[in-house]
């Protein structure tokens, strides 16, 4: 809960409001608790905080003035897109400004010849594809929240989706980001050519969780929509075999447009919700999609079917039309919503592991279910090795919440142990900040902070997210133990 703001903090807040109201229209500066309530959390609603002030700039000039004011007053700024993030990256600060880019939501240009779209940060991901569709083009990254999430947020998180293996992440599909530094300077990272002079700051800014600059305009790449797409729904009586099938697919030289897995618990939960006709007895279901020209798809589906059969799938169904393709996908796409129906709360994790460790990981999670007395269905971007275990719990039961957090921490640390990462596409935010102390060494964390200071000398942009301080790591009590996995064990460490 928020404490009442008193003394010098109160004076500072009045100053911030005053400066913001000089730069922004009156209706674009909110400071009543009731008005600010919708901004107190993002998609990770377990973490809430009422911001000091909410600013809703309408254009880049207003962003510039707002940031400059915050810089001069030494006030932290948390930028926010649509607020669909799952790691608390847009969690406000009581002593800070919550800068919502939601009013900047214009599609500035769609150029079908150059195959780019120039958009403001508040534009929804799906709106770009809708604007490009008349030209036979689309924007490839499709996070499951694409109907609501904003492209600015996608850039901040380097968002993925179900087609990443073939079409890449946000970082592969953005050409240029225009933004404003905390000092109020306008900067352009990347360009509408395929590269830009100097360091690849575009790559650095993508996925930086709003900690380096505030995005005001983005140029994205558009790609031709495939003429045809079909999906195979394959059932396995053993999780291990479905993992082998994924490896066999890659070994056969096939890069599927989508390759997704659901375990039995996830399948049962979603079937009840979407009635897609899934096989409820399968230990694992694989969805394997091919897209391209009709000739290409036909050839690839035949090769995929052969691989799946060889890997021991006991049943296949190939979508015969677009309606059926969407039906096969419906359960996977609705997985999170389905969990909401069978449990008061669920906690979604986002680790990525080498694909070959999948079966081991699922066995590990099954053991944790018993250890903590909690259910945990699994959905999985199998092609990328990106896991989304969903721990089901009741937030009103403090002990369940505590067990859930301990469960999740064990899973994330296991991801690191098997050579993976704590977050594939949802970001670190506030949620996984402690596990950063396990994944990175103190030297590496210190270098991250030095990178931040190169953009943001006073560390005012979204402080406390993504990169933990060494002090926080010491308190967490887990300093980086990579043990025998150290890349250069022969080297002396300092």
């Amino acid at each position: 809960m928020n404490m009442p703001i008193t003394g010098t903090a109160f004076l500072k807040r009045a100053q911030v409001i005053g400066r913001l109201r000089l730069a922004l229209p009156e209706a674009c500066v909110l400071f009543d608790a009731e008005d600010m309530r919708p901004y107190e959390c993002d998609g990770l609603s377990a973490y809430r905080e009422l911001p000091g002030v909410v600013a809703l700039p309408e254009n880049e000039e207003q962003v510039r003035h707002a940031l400059r004011a915050c810089f001069e007053l030494g006030v932290p700024v948390v930028a926010r897109g649509a607020g669909t993030g799952l790691s608390g990256g847009a969690l406000p600060m009581a002593n800070g400004v919550l800068l919502s880019l939601s009013k900047m939501k214009r599609i500035l240009a769609v150029d079908p010849v150059a195959r780019v779209a120039r958009v403001q940060p508040g534009v929804r991901n799906l709106a770009i594809t809708e604007a490009a569709a008349p030209y036979g083009l689309y924007y490839a990254p499709d996070p499951s929240s694409q109907i609501a999430c904003s492209i600015g947020g996608n850039v901040a998180e380097n968002a993925g989706g179900v087609h990443c293996l073939k079409y890449g992440l946000t970082v592969h599909n953005v050409l240029r980001v225009r933004g404003v530094t905390i000092e109020g300077e306008v900067v352009e990272f990347g360009s509408e050519a395929l590269d830009a002079p100097g360091y690849d700051l575009l790559a650095l800014v993508t996925g930086s969780e709003g900690m380096l600059a505030v995005t005001t305009e983005i140029t994205v790449k558009l790609v031709p929509a495939p003429e045809a797409a079909r999906v195979i729904l394959a059932a396995f009586d053993d999780v291990e075999r479905s993992g082998t099938a994924v490896a066999a697919m890659i070994a056969a030289g096939i890069i599927p447009a989508g390759l997704e897995m659901m375990d039995r618990a996830a399948t049962r939960a979603v079937e009840e919700y979407v009635h897609a006709g899934y096989d409820l007895n399968a230990a694992a279901l694989l969805l394997c999609e091919s897209d391209g020209t009709p000739e290409e798809v036909e050839e690839e589906i035949a090769r995929m079917t052969e691989v799946l059969r060889g890997a021991g799938a006991y049943d296949f169904r190939v979508s015969q039309n677009e309606a059926e393709r969407l039906k096969f996908w419906s359960g996977r796409k609705a997985a999170f919503a389905a969990m909401g129906r069978i449990s008061p709360d669920y906690y979604c994790m986002d680790g990525t592991i080498p694909r070959k460790r999948l079966a081991e990981m699922l066995r590990f999670i099954a053991a944790l279910e018993a250890k903590y007395g909690l259910r945990c269905p699994n959905v999985f971007h199998a092609g990328d090795g990106n896991l989304h275990p969903l721990i089901l719990f009741d937030a009103n039961d403090p002990d369940e919440l505590r067990r859930t957090e301990a469960f999740a921490a064990e899973v994330l640390e296991k991801c690191i142990e098997v050579g993976g990462t704590i977050t594939g596409e949802h970001g670190v935010g506030i949620e996984k900040i402690n596990q950063m102390c396990v994944q990175f060494s103190p030297d590496e964390l210190e270098q991250f902070r030095a990178v931040k200071r190169a953009f943001d000398p006073k560390e005012l942009l979204n402080p406390g997210k993504n990169i933990p301080t060494l002090h926080r790591c010491a308190e967490f009590g887990k300093m980086h133990v990579r043990g025998a996995d150290l890349p250069f064990p022969g080297l002396e460490r300092f």
Binding site: V113, A114, R115, G136, L137, N158, V171, H172, T181, E185, V187, S191, E192, A193, P197, G198, Y199, D200, L201, A203, L204, G207, L212, P224, E227, I250, G253, I255, G292, T293, E296, E299, I353, P354, R355, K356, G383, G385, N386, G419, T421, G424, H426, G427, V428, M436, Q439, D443, E444, Q447, F448, V451, R453, F455, N466, I467, F488, G490, L491, R493
Partner: protein
């Protein structure tokens, strides 16, 4: 292995502001960049592919590994570096490839070096070993320093190893040739790129456009029917694309300064003096020209891109396009955050650092 790292760390500790280091592998890209300073640190002391699992689509190799050795290992498993990095000589190394950040003919279709970097280990100016990214396809923990290292010309640290995403070799490949003037070629390349065609490379020069199609046999066959043009024999096509990638094609021979203009793919003909070869679906324009640097930079800027003096010529006007002041400030601070005394490849990118 640890001997090499001891050697690196001792060399780096002995370096200082007055004794900088020049990081160098096979030296095949010595021609590229602004200037050299300092004593050579030979990165080939640390070589070899350390992990390669074809079914994970990931390979990890030490900095001094020969690029040829790496590609041979991939080809044996019918996989490839999809960005087709140029070697510019038999001795090219993995570290040099990553530091130079150059990509070849497939770039417009598949992506650049940076798009395939999954993780790097570097030794910084204090001889600390830092590891960023990893060996998995999706990873958003911390800032993406591993992609930042790609194309940084060795100015941020000594690259010790790199993990790269690899892709399967295409099953089928065909090259087509068309007669068309520059404006028609640019127009056609942009039109085709907006359709689902398996184009993997393009090169226009003189009045001839070469187009490479790669992918599933059925897709390549169908595209050939749609596009027309004259089919080039497989041997000839391979030699041609190798010439474009390695700059051994007759266009790239000669002593005239070679400029690299990176522009939006649909930028109209630039109408600059000199001979031109266009790659990347119109987005890369090579110019062999003695024209003034300011003229070329201004033309590139107006088209929405930038110009690099790639090979030869007078480097005093700056090899790389000067940065806007706000970006230059960030560059200088970033450089200082990794290498405060500027001991690594000082002046190789910009004279300021």
């Amino acid at each position: 292995m640890s001997d090499a790292l001891k050697f690196f760390s001792e060399t780096i500790r002995a370096a200082s502001q007055s004794r900088p280091l020049r990081l160098r592998g096979g030296g095949t890209k010595d021609f590229y960049g602004q200037s050299f300073e300092g004593e050579v640190l030979d990165t080939r002391a640390c070589a070899g592919v350390t992990a390669y699992e074809p079914t994970e689509l990931v390979v990890t190799a030490n900095c001094g590994t020969g690029l040829a050795e790496l590609e041979a290992a991939l080809h044996a498993n019918r996989q490839m570096l999809a960005f087709e990095p140029p070697y510019f000589g038999a001795g090219a190394t993995v570290g040099g490839m990553l530091a130079a950040g150059l990509s070849g003919p497939r770039r417009a279709a598949a992506g650049a070096v940076r798009d395939f970097v999954l993780g790097v280990t570097i030794m910084d100016a204090r001889a600390r070993v830092l590891r960023f990214g990893g060996t998995v396809m999706k990873n958003v923990a911390g800032y993406d320093v591993s992609r930042l290292v790609a194309g940084s010309m060795g100015t941020l640290g000594l690259i010790l190893d790199a993990s790269l995403k690899v892709l399967p070799l295409p099953v089928a490949e065909t090259t087509l040739r068309f007669e068309m003037p520059e404006d028609k070629a640019i127009e056609a390349l942009n039109r085709w790129a907006g359709r689902p065609l398996p184009i993997s490379a393009s090169a226009w020069t003189g009045s001839e456009l070469a187009l490479r199609l790669s992918g599933a046999a059925a897709a390549v066959r169908a595209a050939c029917e749609k596009l027309g043009g004259g089919r080039v024999g497989d041997g000839e096509a391979r030699a041609y694309w190798s010439g474009v990638r390695e700059h051994t094609d007759p266009f790239f021979r000669g002593d005239i300064p070679l400029w690299r203009l990176s522009v939006p793919s649909n930028a109209p003909p630039l109408a600059l003096p000199g001979a031109q070869l266009i790659e990347w679906g119109g987005a890369l324009r090579w110019l062999a020209t003695s024209a003034d640097a300011r003229v070329l930079r201004e033309a590139a800027r107006r088209a929405g891109g930038h110009a690099t003096l790639f090979r030869g010529g007078d480097k005093s006007a700056g090899v790389f396009q000067p940065l806007e002041p706000a970006l230059a400030k960030i560059h200088a601070k970033l450089k200082a955050s990794f290498d405060p005394e500027a001991i690594f490849n000082r002046g190789r990118m910009y004279t300021e650092f």
